[in-house]
Amino acid sequence: MLDLEAIREKIGYQPALLGVFALLASGALAWASGATGAAIAAAEAKDLRDSLSEVLPAGMADNDFLKDTVSVDRDGQAVTIYRARQGKDVKAALFKVAGRGYAGEIQILMAVDTEGRTLGVRVLKHAETPGLGDKIEAKKDAWIKGFDGKSLGDPAPEKWAVKKDNGVFDQFAGATITPRGVVKAVKGGLEFFAAHKTEITG
């Protein structure tokens, strides 16, 4: 019978034990990553499809816009643009923009029609203060729907700001930086669309 108590105190036992556990842990992680990879990718694709359908009014597209994409360079970074078509004509472009919030980046998805009007805006990911800045989520507040139908000419460019900065968009009590970041990001998205319209719809 092996005397575990005695072996456990030997100097060689310690690194061997650590090694075995490191190996077991890596094995478990590799197995879990392999077993869940496909399901995670499918769930994320479904999330993307759901959120794309949310910013695009029903009936705007008869194509699978998840597959109809074009990549456009924006300040050195490639932006994937999903194109919603009816027949052959591009009716709307969907793409992600990022704004700076109170706590890091706010990822935003927006749909723009060919006239440069926003069809819908949704926040995909953020780390804003719960109960304050998270009113930018459509689930928690209708604020984000205030962008629907807005374009670069309506309101005028200098009015593309929160009310505190003499703009037209509401801020939240106790959170100004968050909506300010979203407004700026959406405006930037519209400018980006206007600058690359031929590339996107072409």
Partner: protein
């Protein structure tokens, strides 16, 4: 085994409560208790991890030498949390979208390593599982109470968005105080410290009163005996 299930549960829920008695896991306690729902979600996720980690640590307690036990436990807990994170993302995706934020935070919860060190490494598998459950539920209770108080004072609601976490049938939990805008401070970090401070003071006062009453009863009994 001198501990029975009842006394382990009592210690976890009250006597050795992770937050109110051991003052462990202060980081998640302060960070996620902005609403009752968040506190509950974080508590339940932590409970699940704590039970499994206590069981695993208890199973390997005879093979692990005391010199390298800390790195072994850290690797074990980190692996466990990562696997749970990936599995939930893959197969319970809707729940993951609500709880996902909290899962990664569990790795840095010192209460998990604390229980491995203080209990599971010295006790059997079943007792360790019960201890994990008791400590986890105590943690859940504490987080939910702090969250509810902060949410009520700060936003005038109770269990807002609980149906996102627990399913639509729990929508009845959601309450709103009409005509009260809330005191923002309570949602912000200072509110967390203030609420925790008052709760700790309240617990201390209550325990002192109970102890005083017990002493009085003892004194009375002795007087009769004399």
């Amino acid at each position: 085994m001198s501990d029975n299930v009842g006394s382990i549960m009592k210690e976890g829920l009250w006597g050795q409560n992770v937050v109110f008695a051991q003052l462990l896991a202060m980081c998640p306690t302060m960070a996620v208790t902005t609403s009752g729902t968040n506190g509950l979600g974080m508590g339940l996720a932590t409970t699940a991890v704590l039970v499994v980690s206590n069981v695993l640590v208890s199973m390997i307690r005879k093979t692990v030498s005391s010199q390298v036990r800390i790195p072994v436990f850290v690797v074990l807990i980190a692996t466990l949390v990562t696997v749970v994170d990936m599995a939930m993302n893959a197969w319970l995706h809707d729940l993951y979208k609500v709880l996902g934020l909290f899962i990664a935070l569990i790795v840095v919860n010192c209460a998990i390593l604390g229980r491995a060190e203080a209990y599971a490494v010295k006790n059997g598998v079943v007792a360790s599982a019960v201890d994990g459950l008791a400590m986890g539920l105590g943690f859940t209770g504490a987080l939910t109470v702090i969250g509810l108080i902060r949410e009520f004072l700060g936003a005038g609601t109770l269990f807002a968005q609980a149906s996102n976490l627990l399913g639509p049938s729990f929508a009845f939990l959601e309450m709103k105080l009409p005509g009260y805008g809330g005191a923002l401070l309570m949602i912000l970090p200072p509110g967390g410290f203030a609420v925790l401070g008052f709760l700790l003071a309240g617990k201390r006062v209550m325990e002192n009163r109970l102890a005083a009453r017990a002493a009085e009863d003892d004194g009375g009994a002795q007087a009769v005996a004399v």
